[in-house]
């Protein structure tokens, strides 16, 4: 009976999770093609050091170690989860124990210790958000759902860990009562917690508690799988491809625009070598998510809203509206909005040009104000700060290009600068010749 419920539940969870994850994949694919190839060795190295090894996290050691506990506990728990799947389907109990012997005890013991550490880390994370109110967790863009999202996952962690220790605590006592059904497994934390909490309870109650803990664990995990694609926690998967597909350009290079380059070259009578199709006039810069690259959108879905970028942004630090984290959140929310409209058929996606014909009259500028993108100093502090190589600056600069090149508008003070650059080749309007300083 329990097996049937488990199988039905698991099937439903995986069906709906697949649909939701596929929707995220499609939303990321709303972006334009992106040249990422090359540097295969460097990419593998970054994947191992930055994504798997979380190297950049250690710039902030306390957060890094707390995160490490949750991260390693999560990775190792996958082994236990595999067993839970098997036990759930076949109605077995600790299916792997007889096969793995003392190694089984070692793994389960390690998971117990890490779960305890993860519990401590979770409490610290909760208090940083809700009691200490760290500035980067209380910025305007986190009010409402984003804060709830963060807290929900942390509460889920706690429920999960409670489930594990209820299950294992009862299991430890049952190993002594009914060794035939409960194989001997040394549980370093539960062998202390079990007797402490459940001392003197009868066998039936212990069996019930063991099952209760097991189901609590299973249900939290299923809930987490279903919830992931709608939350900021996609970083647990997307951090890996996001690091691997990192931009091959150097930080100082903005993507060239061959269409404009060739137009200017022919204006000066210079032969244009690579022939660019000029039939279709492209949109210059990014006005909506469909003008961004799929890597920009992968960045957006990878963002876990930690706010390291915003906490080092010179504009944000001095009270300007710009927050690099908000840029990423807005891009993600817009991609999700557009993606769901396409799914419902209220917007259509023309496969050839990847240009959605958008019926809602909105674009990225409905989310991100001009004041925000105009406040950026392009200092790259946000790019440097991100532990998973997200680049908010690239999006800001593409939106500036859209403003100037597609909409013909810009910050008021930049217009005279453009004029002097065009007429005199200098950032200022100047009365004297460029070499006058030599003779002065």
């Amino acid at each position: 009976m329990a097996s049937i419920i488990f199988i039905l539940l698991a099937s439903a969870v995986f069906y709906f999770a697949f649909k939701a994850f596929y929707a995220v994949y499609q939303n990321i694919n709303l972006g334009k093609p992106y040249e990422w190839k090359g540097q295969p060795k460097g990419r593998i190295k970054d994947l191992l050091l930055i994504a798997l090894g979380r190297k950049k996290m250690f710039d902030r050691p306390l957060a890094a170690f707390m995160h490490l506990f949750i991260y390693v506990a999560f990775l190792l728990t996958q082994l236990e989860l595999l067993e839970i799947l098997i036990d759930g389907i076949f109605g077995t109990h600790r299916f792997l124990a007889p096969f793995l012997g003392s190694f089984y005890s070692f793994i389960i013991g390690l998971i117990e210790v890490l779960s305890l550490l993860a519990f401590v880390a979770t409490l610290i994370f909760l208090s940083r958000r809700n009691l200490l109110k760290l500035p980067r967790f209380t910025k305007a863009e986190l009010l409402g759902w984003p804060s709830t999202d963060a807290n929900l996952i942390l509460l889920g962690e706690i429920l999960l860990i409670f489930g594990i220790f209820t299950m294992n605590g009862a299991d430890h006592l049952l190993q002594r009562i009914d060794p035939a059904h409960y194989p001997q497994v040394h549980l370093p934390v539960s062998s202390i917690l079990g007797p402490l909490l459940f001392h003197g309870l009868d066998t039936t109650t212990l069996e019930f508690l063991e099952r209760w803990g097991w189901w609590q664990h299973v249900i939290v995990v299923f809930g987490f799988i279903l919830y992931l694609p709608y939350s900021k926690h996609l970083h647990i998967f997307l951090a890996f491809p996001n690091v691997y597909f990192r931009d091959p350009r150097s930080r100082g290079e903005m993507e060239n625009m061959p269409a404009i380059m060739n137009e200017v070259k022919s204006m000066f009578g210079i032969a244009v070598s690579d022939n660019v199709d000029t039939e279709e006039i492209p949109v210059f810069g990014a006005g909506d998510v469909t003008d961004l690259s799929w890597k920009n959108l992968l960045d957006a879905y990878t963002c876990t809203e930690c706010g390291r970028c915003t906490s080092v942004c010179p504009a944000n630090l001095t009270g300007k509206k710009l927050s690099p984290r908000k840029i990423m959140m807005d891009v993600r929310d817009r991609a999700t909005e557009l993606g769901s409209q396409i799914a419902k058929g209220t917007s259509t996606n023309n496969d050839e040009g990847k240009k959605a014909i958008i019926s809602d009259g909105k674009n990225l500028f409905s989310y991100i104000s001009r004041e925000e993108i105009r406040a950026c100093t392009s200092c790259n502090a946000c790019v440097e700060a991100c532990p998973v190589l997200i680049n908010p600056l690239d999006i800001i600069l593409q939106m500036r290009r859209y403003e100037v090149l597609t909409e013909s508008q810009t910050a008021e003070a930049w217009t005279p600068m453009f004029t002097s650059l065009e007429n005199q080749g200098c950032v200022w309007q100047v009365p004297q010749e460029r070499d006058a300083w030599i003779h002065s």
Partner: protein, 256 residues
């Protein structure tokens, strides 16, 4: 004696290196002093260098970062035509924005040169023994160094300028935010040419306060925009008399 490329070409000569002056060095009174200081060092060492003079245009960095690709391409393509016509191979510049654009952005447009920032160039001159720095005038004095974003975080050069400061026998005191964590002066991304957006304070004030907090008598910088921004920030704090802002080349010149 500052010679232009056209003068070199007229005499059939080729300089060792082209000094890219930039808009600031050419027109801004404060940055002109830096340009002259750098040329004096080059003359002192006996480097055969040229400037483009009237043939030089803005690299296009502020236009590109403000979003105006069209104006950027116009400037860049004209500059690349000029540089390629003179068969320029090696460029040094005292502006990290020019440095970045020449080094990282011109190749995609057909301009390939060996580009160094003047702090790297001076450091190489010292390393090769061509330039000797006496030290002395800053002995025992506190200097702090401001990393420009375009030399530091964007192009990864943190050591050359610090090694130059080390030759002065000065006491280099780092700011709270330095190297990869350095705080922008507020000028990059074409901010130099407009007012800050609405906020609590100006970025240059924030950075000037941090520099003053080190107790240094001098701030060493490597970028004309940073120099302007920090100087304005110090004025806002009424500290312009007690804390001086120098380009690294000026500090070196005082000590040879």
């Amino acid at each position: 004696m500052i010679k232009t490329m056209s003068e070199f070409a007229a005499s059939g000569e080729q300089p060792e290196v082209l000094y890219w002056v930039g808009c600031a060095g050419s027109f801004d009174a404060r940055a002109q002093k830096v340009a002259k200081a750098f040329c004096q060092i080059l003359d002192h060492v006996g480097i055969k260098y040229a400037v483009l003079g009237q043939e030089e245009k803005c690299t296009g960095d502020p236009a590109r970062r403000a979003g105006n690709e069209f104006v950027f391409q116009m400037l860049a393509i004209q500059n690349i035509e000029t540089l390629n016509n003179y068969n320029i191979k090696s460029i040094v510049t005292a502006c990290p924005h020019c440095f970045n654009t020449l080094k990282n952005e011109y190749p995609a447009l057909g301009g390939n040169y060996h580009v160094v920032h003047h702090s790297q160039y001076l450091q190489q001159l010292i390393e090769s023994g061509q330039l000797k720095v006496e030290g002395g005038s800053f002995k025992g004095k506190k200097i702090t160094y401001h990393d420009s974003c375009y030399l530091g975080r964007i192009n990864g050069e943190y050591t050359a300028p610090r090694e130059l400061i080390a030759t002065l026998d000065a006491d280099l005191t780092e700011m709270k935010r330095s190297k990869a964590n350095g705080l922008c002066c507020g000028a990059g991304g074409a901010q130099m040419f407009k007012e800050d957006e609405a906020g609590d304070k100006r970025i240059n004030t924030e950075r000037a306060e941090e520099a003053v907090a080190t107790g240094a008598q001098a701030i060493a910088a490597n970028c004309p925009w940073c120099i302007t921004m920090l100087t304005d920030g110090l004025k806002a704090m009424d500290k312009q008399e007690s804390v001086m802002v120098y380009d690294i080349s000026e500090l070196i010149l005082q000590n040879i």
